[in-house]
Symmetry: C2
Subunit: 224 residues, 2 copies
DNA sequence: CACCCTATGTTTACAATGTAAATATATACG
DNA sequence: CGTATATATTTACATTGTAAACATAGGGTG
């Protein structure tokens, strides 16, 4: 057999054959690195050493590309094995899902708009629903519980990603901002901003809300 | 004085002068009616009887248009007056905010990405923060409470809008869907879908999650 | 009223983007 | 090998946001 060309040989040698997963992964990598706005078909083609139209052999259209990418990252969510403590399951899976969305900022926006769920997403949902089922939630409550947790995951990720300022930047921008801010018109909002500026956010607000929800679910599950 | 031309006279008479609010309102109306995808500068111009470029005298660019529209709908949120029952305030404002986002499906996606808040949005935030402040929440908890509620509002709206199927459509599509669905591979997900199909969603899942959160906040505020 | 200055609207143009259609090439299989 | 099928390229076009230059109108001042 002839020597197979090394996949990463970039310049002279012929590139490895394209396939759907390579396209999806390159797309995710590009979106991670430069933002979803940089992900154009031409640019992604260039990234793979190929013309834009070549991508259409592996992807129906850009929407298919995006949802394929999404399902790829959905596969990164950790699905804990069963254990008697339902809160532990649910909590860990939710935290992992949230972390994945934060790690791929472009993914959170797609999460809510995907009509056709990919296999990884389905595995994730199935796992989440099973945990709640095994915990003994009756069907209606189970449904509500699942959606409330899901809403919190995606809601928090999107809100957090909407303020893409790291702590230092926020200090600067915020101080500057407060100088021109009509403090007397929105006093509580001003206080809120000030609070964000001085206090190091201790821990993640995500887990606070999550525990609030889990507490409430536990109580509704077994009303004492 | 000469007779002022009627604003709605469409064909022969000269149209009323454009201004920012007319542009923003027409934009919101168009996005409401035909989806955010139909909102192009040319189309919006046509809607107002004007060329696309005329809009740029009243709006810096399309982003400015969108955020202007958003602040317009933020003004639709009801801000309840004070009353001793903090949960009542917070609950009603949250429900109103959620309803507004559901009424303007394009708005929910913008809500999370607005760096510069408009005046209506600021009034809304100020009002929400004041309610929690008057309820006696200490600063850290207040902050967490506000963001958790906000996350729930936007998270639920986006998730709900992501499945834009009314009940009847869902029955059809769902039945059809379940036939080709690998039920044995995702048994709990299949059960979940079945549950959605048969059970009339009694009430809004939004309020369920909201009350879960409010319960938890009440308990954290005054640990018995 | 005449004048002109500024705010508003139009025309033309261009670059970026997704993708259809036709064409070329390479790979696998008989 | 030779041919059919899968893959890649080329060319082209419609749609979009918006820059730049030009046109106009309308109102305040002489």
């Amino acid at each position: 057999m002839p020597p197979v060309p090394t996949p990463n040989d970039s310049s002279t040698e012929r590139r490895t054959r394209l396939n759907r997963d390579r396209v999806l992964d390159a797309g995710a990598a590009l979106a991670d690195a430069e933002g979803i706005g940089a992900l154009t078909m031409r640019r992604l083609g260039k990234e793979l050493g190929v013309e834009a139209m070549a991508l259409y052999n592996h992807v129906h259209n850009k929407d298919d590309l995006l949802h394929g990418m999404l399902d790829r990252v959905a596969g990164e969510i950790e699905l804990p094995d069963s254990s008697p403590d339902w809160r532990d399951h649910v909590r860990r899976r939710a935290i992992s899902a949230h972390a994945v969305l934060m790690r791929h900022p472009w993914a959170a926006g797609l999460w809510t708009s995907s009509i056709n769920l990919g296999p990884a997403r389905m595995r994730y949902m199935d796992s989440a629903l099973r945990s709640l089922d095994e915990a003994g939630f009756p069907p209606d409550l189970l449904d509500r519980a699942f959606h409330t947790i899901e809403d919190h995951i995606v809601g928090h990720a999107l809100q957090a990603l909407g303020f893409p300022l790291d702590h230092d930047q926020m200090m600067e921008t915020g101080e500057e901002f407060l100088r021109t801010f009509p403090v007397d018109e929105y006093p509580d909002l001003a206080a809120h901003i000030r609070h964000h500026l001085q206090d190091d956010e201790d821990g993640d607000g995500f887990e606070f809300g999550l525990d609030l929800i889990l507490d409430g679910l536990e109580r509704r599950r077994s009303p004492s």
